[in-house]
Amino acid sequence: MEVTTLAAASAFLAAVVRMATPIALAGLGETISEKSGVINIGVEAIMLSGAFFSFIGVFTTGSILIGLLCGMAGGVAVSMVHALLSIRCKADQTISGLALNFLFLGLTSFLFLMEFGKSTTLPSIPVIRAMRIPILSRIPLIGEALFHQDPFVYTMLALVLILWILFYKTEWGVILHAVGENPRSADTVGIRVNRVRYLACAANGVLGGLGGTYLAMVKLGFFMENLTSGKGYIALVAVILGRRNPVGVLCAALVIGAAEALQIRLQTMGTAIPSQAFTMLPYLVTIVVLFFSIGKRNDPSALGVPYERDKR
């Protein structure tokens, strides 16, 4: 009895980490972008594009590496359109992100139907399997969750650490924060504000694209219309909830992942409570947490504001 409970708990934790991974990846990307002052509501589009192009990459070439590159490129394509619109055209960033969500929801679905619309079987690709790290994976309870996962999970965990160091312990972090908090001062000391923002947007595309790639290449092994179904918006929630701190974003993603994993468990158990009650949990949690964060705002001052050098 003891052993089975422990095994179930350990499997549950592993599922939580898997659920959290795409959200955390995209959330980390968005964190970089928002720290530089560019808010991108189009994370959904980035992930969808990443999922679609990585799927196409693997499906046509059979190479995982090409799939990864395609996925990241797909994400970057979206985030760079957004960067051009918000930095160069000084457009409203919320509207731009929203428009991109529509554009890429349509585009990926259209291209997918164009390629595979006539085939009767769902085209699929082999999924990437989990890699067991010897010895460490035998740690009770958390071993399975942390050391018997696919490479994306390891990458995500490493990125949390790398970004934390980058943000708070290096000059790059200072520059990134300066550009988002006070672009004029940053400009005055010789930082190229818009170049930093373009780079931050590109990083957002890479990580968001990876998040989408994870869905296509690890979780599902196929593509379908609107495959992300709102994960991009949830990533935005994770960013707010985690207060743009990589560790915080990971924790937020884990909370949301736990709610998701719990919901799937409860659905299969067949409780009387409608599953929607559990699906709703992460959003309720977020709002409640946001209530507590009132007065402790940490939005970058220049979030969503384009930098205009020739204006005061």
Partner: protein, 339 residues
């Protein structure tokens, strides 16, 4: 309204690019352009039924689009019309299920008021959070969307479930809680009249009353408004209430005019489309009516194009997204000043 030649040309070029991309996409799926165009047109103006379908879809888009525009005027970016619409739908269903014996005119009027309040509640929460505490309304409205959609899912399985069917849906609402059909064989209902009247009302409110002036002033310049004694907080909250309220009324009309019961997924993302409607309509109520009809026509037409010419309906999302991107980039792309 003055419009320079340059601006006019830029609009023309935008249209040309969007059209060219659409034709390219049609060719890419191996369909023919004349066939696609004819089936598109047949879908929206081929018959009275076809045109009525456009108006049926335009009804919630006009109402929710007006709502979004009122929010935009004070700088309240309401991404939550989708959830607010569902709250309105919940309100009328709850009324119809728990008080089915109310007299006819009173019932539907009460339903509209309750729908307005339910939608308004869903938007005034992020409104207050923004105005009083500076929390991002974008995130909060998106989260409330998910909460409302899941709430519908819970309610149609529990409190509002029709006990005589195994499916997740509410019982049929009494006839007193429905909007009368306008052209009986078609699905067109009195909701379109409510939508048009609301457009007139919002126009008067925003441009011919001091309350509307105050809201617009807050949107243009918060600091100047504050100095002139206009309460920024109160006006943002007021505009968010109206904003969500109108989306709630859209939900009431969908249930009262079309479905007559609450089911999941009554809105094929009308709430998100409403943002595009408000944007294309330049936040002006009368233009919003036309942009809503335009977006509805695009949707209905693309469905007909899928049936007639085998072009996937997702072309409609591509066109809308591209249109907004082009409009955002217009000033840079065509190097024109003004507007």
């Amino acid at each position: 309204m003055k419009m320079s030649v340059q601006v006019f040309v830029s609009f023309l070029l935008t249209a040309a690019v969007v059209l060219a991309v659409s034709f390219l996409l049609i060719l890419m799926v191996g369909s023919s352009i004349p066939l696609s165009v004819t089936s598109f047109m047949r879908g929206i103006v081929g018959s009275w039924y076809a045109f009525s379908e456009v108006l049926v879809r335009a009804t919630p888009l006009i109402l929710a689009g007006l709502g979004v525009s009122v929010g935009f005027r004070t700088g309240f970016l309401n991404i939550g019309a989708e959830g607010q619409l569902y709250m309105g739908a919940i309100a009328i269903t709850a009324l119809g299920v728990y008080a089915p014996n109310l007299p006819a005119p009173f019932m539907i009027l009460l339903a509209i008021v309750l729908g307005f309040l339910a939608g308004g509640l869903w938007s005034v929460i992020p409104g207050i959070l923004k105005a009083r505490f500076g929390l991002s309304e974008v995130i909060n409205t998106i989260m409330l969307n998910y909460i409302a959609i899941n709430l519908v899912g819970i309610l149609v399985r529990t409190l509002l479930k029709d006990p005589s069917y195994p499916y997740p849906m509410s019982p049929m609402l009494p006839a007193s809680a429905s909007l009368f059909p306008l052209l009986p064989p078609t699905r067109l209902h009195a909701g379109i009249l409510i939508a048009l009247a609301t457009a007139g009302g919002i126009h008067s409110l925003m441009f011919h009353t001091s309350a509307g002036f105050r809201m617009r002033a807050v949107g243009v310049n918060k600091r100047a408004s504050l100095c002139a004694g206009i309460s920024v907080t109160r006006n943002i909250v007021l505009s968010s209430l109206i904003s969500g309220g109108l989306a709630g009324v859209a939900g009431v009309c969908e249930v009262a005019g079309l479905h007559h019961r609450l089911i999941e997924g009554i809105s094929p993302s009308y709430g998100y489309l409403a943002i595009i409607v408000a944007l294309l309509g330049g936040n002006r109520p009368l233009r919003i009516v036309f942009s809503a009809i335009g977006i509805a026509a695009l949707q209905v037409g693309s469905m007909s194009m899928q049936r007639g010419a085998g072009v996937p309906t997702s072309i409609a999302s591509i066109i809308m997204g591209l249109l907004v991107v082009m409009i955002l980039a217009r000033k840079q792309l065509f190097r024109c000043k003004g507007v």
